[in-house]
């Protein structure tokens, strides 16, 4: 019956915690955090955001980096834009609110599907990166990136490209670099790598793009062929797959995942979390988890992070302008 109580407790604590508001009183570096810190996830349980946050909290507890309770709460909605708006509008200046985000934040904003972007909140760190990979089915006539892009440039309609709506940008940039019109690409929207794999295997689509981990099992088993990894450096997991830059297309957009707090989060809290997270990603348990999940830890804070976010956001806006805001 222990499990029953565990579940019930999880539900009840979730209810109780989201009920109370969060801006706690003045604090200082020494005794922070005094109470529980709310670790929120703007997506469903089991999503990429959720698993990142749960792994992180697990590491922070296991390595005894943070003693305070860190209840995790899911607030799914509009590709995390619902929770982002809550953080900006309702949690201003709170020191006990931490959440997870990614490139989606920037694409949502560029598509006008969210009012807020990374500069409306307090970005604490970039945790990890995931690179995009372009794949075809193993029996496809396309053997390399060039043949795909040439075909798209020549007759966009004849090459349906499977991509979740957030993963369309890097492909649009590739087509643009190849001299094609990005707004004419025949994108077919899928909800992630599983659906895309099914569509590639059934012959519905010839080409697809998504984060590397989504296709890895089928690439390794030879059912799918990886044509390129979008970026500069080859990946450890896919050493034989050439990068887009190697093949002469100067596109390096990658997905990132990071941690943020509400706007105006007090300095002592920001400093605390920067330190704690740095310790976390350098621990063995994080490294083990990252390896399991195929995460490339690319931890970054401060000015370095700000420069990165700014240039990435610029890339997103440029790409969006080219695709005609698809």
């Amino acid at each position: 019956m222990l499990k029953t109580r565990f579940l019930a407790a999880a539900v009840v604590s979730g209810l109780a915690l989201s009920g109370c508001s969060s801006s706690s009183a003045e604090g200082s570096t020494d005794d922070y955090p005094k109470g529980p810190v709310q670790m929120s996830v703007g997506a469903d349980p089991g999503s990429g955001f959720d698993l990142t946050m749960r792994t992180l909290v697990d590491v922070l507890q296991k390595e005894k980096i943070v003693d305070a309770p860190m209840p995790i709460e899911n607030h799914p909605g509009a590709a995390s834009a619902v929770w982002l708006a809550q953080m900006v509008e309702r949690k201003k200046e709170a020191d006990d609110q931490v959440s997870v985000t990614s490139l989606v934040m920037m694409t949502n904003k560029a598509r006008a599907q969210s009012k807020y972007n990374y500069d409306d909140v307090t970005m604490i760190c970039r945790l990890l990166s995931e690179y995009f990979v372009v794949v075809t089915s193993a029996d496809s006539k396309y053997k390399d990136l060039k043949s795909v892009l040439d075909a798209v440039v020549k007759d966009p309609k004849s090459v349906p490209v499977g991509a979740a709506s957030d993963d369309q940008l890097p492909f649009a940039l590739l087509v643009d670099a190849a001299g094609g019109e990005a707004s004419k690409i025949n994108f077919v929207a899928y909800d992630g790598g599983g659906e895309q794999s099914a569509a590639l295997l059934s012959g519905d689509i010839k080409v697809a793009i998504a984060g590397t981990s989504e296709f890895l099992p089928l690439i390794e088993s030879g059912k799918l062929r990886a044509l390129t990894v979008v970026g500069e450096k080859r990946l450890k997991g896919l050493p034989d797959v050439p990068t887009s830059v190697e093949q002469g297309y100067d596109v390096t957009l990658s997905n990132w995942r990071g941690i943020y707090g509400p706007p105006g989060m007090p300095d002592y809290a920001v400093t605390y979390w920067k330190k704690a997270l740095k310790k976390a990603v350098n621990s063995d348990s994080w490294k083990k988890a990252a390896k399991k999940n195929q995460w490339e830890t690319t931890f970054m804070t401060g000015d370095e992070m700000n420069t990165y976010l700014k240039s990435t956001n610029q890339q997103v806006e440029d790409a969006m302008a080219k695709t005609g805001n698809s």
Binding site: K3, T4, L7, A10, V11, G14, L15, S18, D44, P45, G46, D50, L51, R54, V57, D58, E73, N74, H75, P76, G77, A78, A81, V82, A85, R111, Q113, S114, K157, S158, P160, S165, N186, F187, V188, A189, G192, G194, E195, S197, A198, A199, L201, S202, G203, D204, I205, S213, L216, P217, L218, E220, S221, K223, K292, N293, Q294, S326
Partner: protein
């Protein structure tokens, strides 16, 4: 016989005391989250992932898979007793199951759903073991055009669910379609019917809709009547199936297993559609029958419980086929399980059975054991659950409302879900009181978005060419079958009219 040997060695691996304990804990948690509305297997598995970090892969996966199929058992209990589906796949069980309970047959309904779940769940595991190599190719043989055609067929089948006024049923379908359209459109992310509200941009959760249209109207009706004591029929409940119940259930068990398993194998469909399809089939057959079934459908026919409950459990085994063999998840729950496999460093895909055969067979074997445990766990509970109906209606139905509101809140942890539940629930109440059937609405809300998704994908891929639906052999075959299915009964009716000109 290779598969049989592997399965037996898997069984040997699964019957260690620790593994048996994890099977038991898994199915127990599964049953409980299945009972709680709004809290489905996905949430439970996500909550248990940190815990399973510390377990060895076999124990962890046995536990989490147990939660998945255990939830399919639990979902039907509240569907039958208080018309509150614990999870979406059990929504359709409420149709006949709750009617049975109202007539004092809650016991047989619960029993047939437990037995059907066991049969469907176990046979699907055997299907997974012995047919997997063949089915892998089947699961990728359907593309967007085939799914689109199949869903048109499914929508046509919903007409068989209509009883009473055709016009009211049609209005109900349109209402469901409107609800299904709310949110971002799946291809171009254009907001529809959201009234500028960001919370509506994901659409309306089917679990919430099922609670709002089934549980809330029924609870309000019972409270509005002001009856202080349970009605006579409710108070005297038969606790077990008799021979006739069992005989009537056997056909649905067989058909439900087949339908549910196939729906599970197809990544674009999943267990929910399997249980809906099974209900449609049973109801269509019931209508053709010349005995008491004809009149009973809609008023508590046991076939309408046995079929769908068998199908949704068979769907679990089916959904494991593309997940294990191709790393393609057919539903959100299998997507999460896929992630758990990867977390343990196991890579589902064509080579999984070679590289980690022992482990996979142990897990598969544990599913057989787990299904047996669920049967043993659930059957004695029937007597206990039936007692719930002796609770005076004011208490029981106030409890239902509180229970459902908790469930709706747990979906997004936002006040907005609660408001949505109440608004749609009130609409549901007025529709129900005025004789509108609500099942067609839920079916339409499930089917329409899927139809739109596949139709638009198919047309994008063909660059707008509609002949894609008749160019492809499978799609053409399905189209012909649908046309025959719709036309033949109409022609028969016409002939009957001409033959008897009175």
């Amino acid at each position: 016989m290779d598969a049989l040997n592997s399965l037996l060695s898997g069984l040997a691996g699964a019957v260690t005391p620790t593994n048996l304990l994890f099977v038991f804990v898994g199915v127990l948690i599964g049953t409980i989250v299945g009972v709680l509305p709004g809290l489905g297997p996905i949430t439970a598995i996500a909550l248990l992932i940190p815990l399973s970090f510390g377990l060895d892969p076999a124990a962890g996966l046995i536990l989490l898979c147990g939660v998945y199929y255990g939830a399919m058992y639990g979902g039907s209990i509240t569907s039958i007793l208080i018309r509150t589906p614990g999870e979406v796949a059990s929504a359709v069980t409420a149709l006949e199951g709750y009617e049975m309970a109202k007539r004092g047959h809650a016991g047989p309904a619960l029993a047939t759903s437990a037995v059907g779940s066991f049969i469907g769940g176990s046979l699907a595991v055997l299907g997974l073991v012995f047919l997997s190599p063949v089915l892998v190719d089947v699961s990728t043989s359907f593309g967007a055009p085939e799914y689109a055609v199949l869903l048109v067929g499914a929508l046509a089948l919903t007409t068989s669910l209509m009883s009473g006024s055709r016009l009211k049923a049609l209005i109900s379908v349109l209402f469901g379609m409107c609800v299904g359209l709310v949110g971002m459109d799946p291809q171009d992310s254009v907001a529809r019917w959201t009234f500028g509200s960001i919370q509506l941009s994901d659409g309306i959760d089917i679990a919430l809709l099922a609670m709002a249209l089934f549980a809330i109207p029924e609870a309000i009706r019972n409270l509005a009547v002001g009856e202080r004591h349970p009605s006579h029929a409710l108070a005297i409940q038969r606790a077990w199936m008799n021979k006739r119940d069992l005989r009537r259930s056997s056909g649905p068990y067989a058909r439900g297993t087949l339908i549910g398993f196939v729906a599970g194998v197809m990544p674009g469909l999943g267990p929910t559609l399997g249980s809906f399809a099974s209900y449609s089939v049973e109801r269509t057959l019931g209508r053709r029958a010349r005995d008491e079934r004809r009149a009973e459908f809609g008023h508590g026919a046991i076939e309408g419980v046995a079929g769908p409950e068998t199908a949704n459990n068979a769907g679990v085994g089916g959904a494991m086929v593309p997940m294990l063999a191709l790393a393609i998840p057919g539903s959100a729950t299998t997507a999460l399980l896929l992630f758990v496999f990867q977390m343990y460093g196991l890579q589902p895909g064509p080579q999984l059975f070679q590289t980690d055969g022992d482990l996979v067979w142990t897990i598969v074997a544990s599913m057989l054991i787990g299904n047996a445990m669920l049967l043993v766990l659930n059957l004695p509970m029937v007597r206990l659950f039936v007692k719930l109906l002796k609770v005076p209606p004011p208490l029981l139905y106030s409890g239902v409302i509180a229970f459902v509101m908790l469930g709706a809140y747990a979906l997004t942890f936002s006040f907005f879900s609660l408001m949505l539940l109440l608004v749609i629930g009130l609409m549901g109440y007025f529709l129900q009181e005025n004789g509108f059937p609500l099942t067609p609405a839920i079916l339409a809300a499930v089917l329409l978005p899927l139809l739109e998704l596949n139709l638009r994908r198919a047309l994008r891929i063909s660059a707008g060419d509609w002949t894609t639906f008749i160019d492809r052999p499978i799609s053409l075959t399905l189209l012909v079958l649908i046309v025959i299915g719709v036309a033949v009964p109409m022609l028969l009716q016409l002939r009957r009219r001409f033959a008897r000109p009175d």
